[in-house]
């Protein structure tokens, strides 16, 4: 396993370098000069602009510029945001907890829903309940996440008034108090529900099919013959075996959550990484944009790596390749 892990880890290094080159080239291709925020816009003296260009290293050849950028990046120096005039690193760090909270809560919601539905369906296949769950899953799979978000805001925020429809916390509440955390949770719940519900379908169907497969196996027959209660067979013996393959989904969820976060955060005006990303595109804040694109690519890569490694843990045959 160790050999496999090291092999996979080394394999990601060329990927990271290639991605960083792609991101850098894309930033260079972007319309406009990424200088615009750094220079005093009122000073149009060509000598001043030339001096600033020289100082910021924009006159260097492209490979040198790339090298400067990437060495800074590795050391955590993401440059200065042209919109907020502060370090990009600080801006991103400020938003990370919000996105992390959203991601974790939505994953928890996905797991709870998927386990409840999957275990029910797996135990009673081809009944009305199972078909109803399959139907719900088909519909959830078909509803685009932004449509679900809009409908959720319409019903739960506007008509039922259960949830706030924007922001990550009530601004009037003092930071650090108990109410502050409750308010944060209250704000994150609806976007997390939308984001989490979207991922349940594949989990549920997988769990259902796996439970049905397992229930025909010999160990179940043995357990039955020994007089183990049916409920215990399903909840302990079968579930234990069916959970293992599900673990590999976790890595892919990582990547899916990134895409999902961009859409959901924007609709719910939830100040996280996804919204910051779209914001940096519209306001042409190139240092932030580059840093975030790198960061999100890195996370996707990490997600794929985790999925691969978990596959290796679950299915030892894969390690042998």
């Amino acid at each position: 396993m160790l050999k496999y892990t090291i092999k996979r880890l080394l394999g990601t290094i060329p990927m990271l370098i290639l991605i960083s080159i792609v991101v850098f080239s894309l930033a260079k291709l972007m319309p406009g000069d990424s200088l615009s925020g750094e220079i005093d816009p009122l000073n149009t003296n060509p000598e001043y602009i030339e001096e600033m260009r020289e100082k910021l290293g924009y006159n260097e050849p492209l490979p040198v510029q790339y090298f400067n950028w990437i060495t800074g990046f590795v050391q955590g120096d993401f440059g200065k945001s042209t919109k907020y005039k502060t370090d990009v690193f600080d801006i991103i760090m400020e938003k990370v907890p919000n996105t992390l909270l959203l991601g974790v809560i939505s994953l928890i919601i996905t797991y709870i829903l998927a386990f409840a539905m999957g275990m029910y369906s797996g135990r009673r296949p081809y009944t009305i309940g199972d078909n109803a769950i399959a139907g719900i899953n088909y519909i959830m799979l078909a509803i685009p996440s932004f449509v679900a978000a809009v409908v959720a805001i319409y019903f739960f925020s506007f008509h039922l008034n259960w949830f706030p429809f924007g922001g990550s916390v009530d601004i009037l509440i003092e930071k650090g108090s108990f109410e502050y955390y409750i308010s944060k949770l209250h704000h994150v719940l609806l976007p997390a529900l939308v984001l989490g519900a979207m991922g349940t379908a594949s989990y549920t169907q997988f769990l259902r099919n796996d439970i049905i497969d397992n229930s025909r196996k010999d160990f179940v027959r043995t357990a039955r013959a020994k007089g183990t209660p049916i409920r215990k067979i399903y909840n302990v013996h079968i579930l234990r075996n069916s959970i293992i393959p599900l673990v590999t989904f976790l890595g892919f969820d990582f990547a899916a959550l990134i895409g999902g976060a961009i859409i959901t955060e924007t609709i719910f005006t939830y100040p996280g990484i996804g919204m910051l990303f779209l914001d940096s595109v519209t306001s042409r804040d190139y240092p932030t944009l580059m840093a975030l694109t790198m960061l999100l690519s890195f996370l996707t890569l990490a997600g794929n790596l985790i999925a691969d490694l978990l596959y290796g843990v679950v299915d030892p045959r894969i390690r042998l390749d």
């Binding site: 078909a142 685009p144 932004f146 449509v147 429809f165 961009i262 779209l278 999100l296």
Partner: protein, 305 residues
Amino acid sequence: MASSTTLSQQKKPERSLSPWQIARRKFLKNKLAMISSVFIILVTLLSIAAPLLAQYLSPLPDIAKVNIGSMNIPPNSEHILGTDKSGRDVLTRLFYGGRISLLVGFSATLMVIVLGTIVGSIAGFFGGLVDNILMRFTDLVLTFPFLVFVIVLNTILYGRVDGLWVLIIVIGVLSWGGVARLVRSKVLAEKENEYILAALSIGCSPFKVIAKHLLPNVASTIIVQATLIFASMIVVESALSYLGFGVPQATPSWGIMLSSANEPDVLQGKPWIWMPPAIVLTLTILSINFIGEGLKDALNPKSLR
């Protein structure tokens, strides 16, 4: 119908059914898939015919014109689905929106399938170094966070190429990786068969073997995959348009129509503006998914239904 075929079979022994005929029979028997097909055909026809139908649908057939006198009218007998904040008829725009959404979805799918099939079949057939290089490149494309790169690329190309095609090219270029992997794995399994060896030994060129012998045998997988991709491409188009990074704002697509729900006022008080595109979009995706499932079932020789 059923009795007449049995009669004719009694008269003279017919050739047994081809795999495609069996698949077609299975698909026609699948009620859900048939209902979905009818719905999709209906949506497609109505969208194509939108310019012809517009004048019968409402007194305001011009979707590009802002009509100040008839803004935000709730559904009534004149405007079946009401009008939006610029006074344009929602039903007419819904039909026109279908044109754009389906066109983008279809073109992007075509591009994804063609690119993925070419890369996948070449990698799978030749193997070795070619396979290695192509698959590492595919891995790279697959690791890009899709939405992030679509948005960045779209911003770069915006204004340089005609708006609609930018989007199609960008989503096409970024999403062929999955198809390439799938086709490669199928080709890898298929090329071990003896008929491929036979074809090569009588001097068929590699490209002829791929095009004439390999691809028809992996076609069923590609067709099923294409259906599912078609659905996801429509979602991608509308999601991007909703966020403001898709088709140009003036183009009526379902995503653009939905983006009016960004205004709390419209979202809360004027549901007739954003609900129709939301419902039609969801039903379209649902139907395409059902068709995909039906095709998967019909083309699978092991399924008994």
